[in-house]
């Protein structure tokens, strides 16, 4: 835990804010000090375009008075401002109370006094000189630019250190630090005479790791970068896909995003009861279907968790002061659970929140946000991806995420990918292009015939899952094995068919 964060007057701010909230009649109040340090390096064709460090830091006070929330935040970290901020939060409840036709109650949570949690990483990215990072990105860019057919290279690294202190009127105090990195390299080939271009991006997902992720721990960069130019050349030469129902073997580098959009968001309880109806949307998986909705085939078992090592949504405690947990969302194809926070747990009839509250900065109020929502691998057999491909006579093997879009109820979706390899007779026989696949969530997961074994299971994820107004972003990972799905609708994006 960084000493400069611990040196902030955290306890004094908490005492000041929480006392002011109590005196103002709040039945519950919490203070959060939130710091986000970000470094962004970006190179184009081996030259630095962006070298930027940024930091946000502030305090936030949330009060619950007579069942009505009030929230306020400020950049100044002094006890006087903490008191004033608590009073502004109380003022907000008074000003807007007429709009509150329902009253909020919070699920109980054991008190976690003095809890400290730090995410696992080997090398703090801030301990590495910027020159070393730029040097690594430059070397990789230079090597790729030297490859045949590569006209442009973009390379970037975003590293984040997030620190938070939480204290509430029940006596919980938590102090946490998380580190995450998002490296990304893409190459482009340009046909100037024909006026066309094509690109490919590395598959390495963002991860809750340190600088070691860039140098080989958790990802084989050498292997991926070596094959990238030839894969791009093959993609350019590839024929356009024939549209129609198609058997798909989907790699975890693509499937994580489908899980995120069609299961992760659909099992957020706040969405399911309409809290995001005017913005992010609702969910077809409404609470009246809990325990009965056939989400997919028997093979489909999905969990939510905030505990998986290196997961982007992994924490020790959420922003309601609830200890991180793992829980079921879909078991054997049936909807069995939701992600909730302390305010939604009682509405669902749960005694305790499963720990999904998060705010992306001091300026934003904690919301129910996504846990690491993950598809479980085959529990019986460690089937390799090649075994799933071998079960397909004529289909596609989908690798890497690209474009995505899903409707307001998380039902109708369309995805593309980095690469689509044609499968003939159980073998890969080259790429095709212009591919998108489109489906309805329950049809798609209903067509899930098999999943790969534990050895195929990988974490994918993103730094920037968006939700709420004002908009917030959250980092989240999704683990999944390779998967075999039958008869998914494939479009040709070139012809529009």
């Amino acid at each position: 835990m960084d000493a400069d964060f611990l040196a902030l007057p955290l306890a004094a701010l908490a005492d000041a804010a929480l006392d002011a909230a109590r005196r103002g009649g709040a039945q519950h109040a919490d203070l959060r000090v939130h710091r986000l340090r970000t470094q962004h390096l970006e190179l184009r064709d081996g030259r630095v375009v962006v070298a930027a460090d940024s930091e946000t830091l502030g305090l936030a006070v949330r009060v619950l008075r007579d069942g009505v929330w009030g929230f306020a935040a400020h950049v100044d970290l002094t006890p006087e401002v903490a008191v004033a901020t608590a009073r502004r939060a109380l003022d907000v409840t008074a000003t807007l109370a007429s709009l509150a036709t329902e009253r909020v109650t919070l699920a109980d949570e054991p008190v976690h006094a003095g809890a400290v949690w730090v995410s696992p990483y080997d090398v703090d990215p801030w301990a590495v000189d910027v020159a070393e990072k730029i040097g690594l990105l430059t070397d990789r860019s230079t090597a790729l630019l030297a490859a045949s057919g590569v006209d442009h290279v973009s390379a970037s690294l975003v590293q984040v250190k997030e620190q938070s202190f939480y204290a509430d009127t029940a006596g919980t105090t938590t102090t946490q630090q998380r580190v995450r990195v998002d490296p990304d390299i893409s190459i482009t080939t340009v046909d100037r005479a024909g006026g066309a271009f094509e690109s490919l991006r590395t598959l390495a997902p963002p991860a809750g790791r340190g600088w070691e992720y860039l140098t080989g721990t958790g990802w084989d960069w050498g292997a991926e970068l070596t094959e990238l130019p030839e894969l791009l050349a093959e993609k350019v030469r590839a024929p356009s896909v024939v549209a129609g129902p198609t058997d798909l073997v989907i790699d975890p580098t693509n499937l994580w995003l489908v899980i995120h959009e069609s299961i992760g968001h659909a099992t957020e309880y706040d969405r399911a009861i309409g809290y995001e109806a005017a913005y992010a949307g609702t969910s077809f998986a409404t609470p009246d279907k809990l325990g009965t909705l056939r989400y997919g085939s028997d093979v489909l078992t999905v969990t939510g968790d905030r505990t998986v090592p290196h997961g982007l949504a992994s924490v020790g405690y959420d922003d309601d002061g609830v200890a991180a947990q793992e829980f079921d969302l879909v078991r054997d194809g049936v909807l069995v659970g939701y992600q909730v926070d302390r305010s939604f747990a009682p509405r669902l009839g749960l005694d305790r929140s499963n720990g999904c509250a998060y705010a992306d900065s001091a300026e934003h109020v904690p919301l129910q946000r996504m846990a690491n929502v993950s598809l479980q691998p085959d529990p019986v057999s460690d089937r390799p991806t090649s075994d799933l491909i071998g079960a397909v006579e004529d289909g596609l093997y989908v690798v890497g995420d690209r474009s995505w879009s899903i409707d307001m109820q998380r039902y109708n979706f369309q995805f593309t990918g980095q690469r689509f390899h044609r499968i003939r007779g159980g073998e890969l026989v080259g790429q095709v292009r212009d591919v998108a696949y489109q489906a309805t969530t329950t049809d798609f997961w209903g067509s899930l015939e098999a999943v790969g074994g534990p050895s195929t299971w990988r974490l994918g994820g993103a730094f920037n899952c968006g939700k709420a107004q004002p908009g917030q972003v959250a980092p989240v990972s999704h683990g999944c094995p390779s998967a075999l799905l039958r008869g998914v609708t494939v479009l040709n994006t070139g012809s529009g068919s």
Partner: protein, 472 residues
């Protein structure tokens, strides 16, 4: 704050000049005061009143072979410009930016900082302006009164006041205040499943007539009494201004000059760019204009202030005066976005991305008049979850949302299911057959990043709905 943003800018620039006398320096302070309220199922869900203040230091450091750029942004609590503790923070920020610039090496977008267009702004030394949830007094009263059984109300209102101070070592001293705000309302009729949406952007939130907005939306709810199922396909479609704005915003975001010159954009073509290419028969002009292009509350301060370099903007251009840019003129691609260095490299005019977009050139017809002149077609409300499918053609996918209506014989005859579409905004400009009167609108999809837009409704004879969406 006890010291104004101007004092902080001056102190940061003084420390920068002392550390590296021959470097260029930019100091940017932004204070954002924001009030928000959100509701769902006819009850308030979240709210807030927040104050954020940050200082960015951009150092442009001479190096062998050119100039490097580094940026550091730090929180700017009250008193940062006062005393040794504040100086230590500012010194570290400047040193960090200098180190980043040296590590980065010579930048391709390097250029001398723009000279000031005039003396320091008259209000340079004044403090920040703020807002509070008190601005929602009228909204709370009218909205609360609108909640009624048998109807569910959802929405969001925000009011944000941003005060910016920009100073550069070239002598630029600018301060400006930009209030912005919006009210979005979504009504649902549980008995039919019908959902309607409307929104308004406003710099003064108290001017928004929420009661009138509620009435307008309630007039649409009966359109859902007759539900009609239509399959995917190509339909004559009327896109209202909000839907047009979301497509034009994405188009404008894709108009980087360098990508087009390098052959890696939808605005590339064999041997060059698409500048000069006529898109369609309608004489439409898509422009950004700090003066507001005839819409007073679309105006913005014509000064470039950025902490990020990319294909369209450069930190070396901080302080540059920006002006009207016509991205598309009379139906022809006219301008691509270039920082000053890239503009010089390609012999193109400097054109910074604009903070508003106005599409003009249509007839005087209102959307209602265009409905009346429609034989059979679809009327949309807005678009959602727009994402790029193919960058070579700017093919986008997305969904219709909160009301698709079937028009027959000039009248709305019922509500249709939602659709997923796959369309390119470039192709839509090529195929549109009618544009109506331009009006102020709120982009549904991109509102978080872009609120200042005025668009006409468009008629597209063959809008491509690729599948049915059961989402409501």
């Amino acid at each position: 704050m006890s010291t104004t943003g101007s004092a902080l800018v001056e102190r940061a620039l003084a420390i920068a000049a002392a550390q590296v006398p021959d470097a260029g320096a930019v100091a940017l302070v932004r204070e954002v005061s924001e009030a928000v309220v959100r509701w769902a199922n006819s009850t308030m869900t979240t709210n807030g009143n927040t104050v954020e203040r940050r200082l960015s230091v951009v150092m442009l450091v001479p190096l062998e072979g050119g100039t490097g750029a580094g940026v550091v942004t730090v929180p700017a609590p009250t008193g940062l410009a006062d005393g040794p503790e504040g100086d230590a923070v500012l010194t570290d920020a400047v040193a960090g930016a200098v180190q980043a610039a040296r590590r980065a090496g010579p930048a391709r977008d390097a250029a001398p900082l723009p000279e000031p267009a005039g003396p320091a702004d008259a209000h340079w030394d004044e403090g920040a302006e703020d807002t509070s949830t008190a601005v929602f007094a009228r909204l709370a009263e009218e909205l609360g009164a609108s909640f009624r059984p048998g109807e569910a109300s959802f929405g969001f209102a925000d009011h944000r006041v941003t005060t910016t101070w920009l100073g550069t070592s070239a002598g630029v001293r600018r301060r400006w205040v930009e209030p912005s705000g919006s009210v979005e309302l979504n009504l649902k009729d549980p008995s039919t499943g019908t959902s309607v949406w409307g929104g308004e952007g406003a710099t003064d939130i108290a001017t928004v007539d929420v009661a009138a907005l509620v009435d307008r939306l309630r007039n649409r709810l009966p359109w859902g009494a007759r539900q009609i199922e239509l399959p995917a396909g190509r339909y004559e479609t009327l896109l209202p201004p909000s839907a047009v704005s979301d497509l034009m915003i994405y188009l404008a975001w894709s108009m980087g000059g360098r990508p087009a010159q390098e052959g890696r954009s939808a605005f590339s073509r064999a041997g060059g760019t698409r500048v000069g290419e006529r898109l369609g028969d309608l004489p439409l002009t898509l422009a950004g204009d700090p003066a507001g292009a005839g819409f007073a509350d679309l105006a913005y301060t014509p000064v470039l202030a950025t902490t990020y370099s990319g294909d369209e903007v450069s930190v070396f251009d901080n302080g540059a005066t920006t002006g009207r840019v016509e991205w598309v003129r009379d139906g022809t691609v006219a301008t691509l976005a270039y920082p000053r260095a890239a503009a010089a490299e390609y012999g193109a005019p400097f054109a910074a991305p604009t903070d508003n977009l106005v599409l003009t050139g249509g007839e005087d017809a209102t959307l209602e008049e265009m409905v009346a002149s429609t034989g059979r077609g679809l009327l949309l409300t807005c678009l959602w979850y727009i994402r790029e499918v193919d960058p070579t053609t700017l093919l986008l996918t997305g969904l219709t949302r909160d009301g698709v209506y079937l028009v027959e014989g000039g009248e709305i005859v019922g509500e249709v299911n939602n659709f997923r579409f796959n369309e390119s905004p470039l192709d839509l400009l090529r195929r549109a057959t009618e544009a109506g009167a331009t009006e102020r609108t709120l982009p549904r999809e991109w509102k978080d990043w872009f609120t200042r837009a005025a668009m006409p409704p468009l008629r597209v004879p063959d809008f491509h709905m690729t599948s049915v969406s059961l989402g409501r």
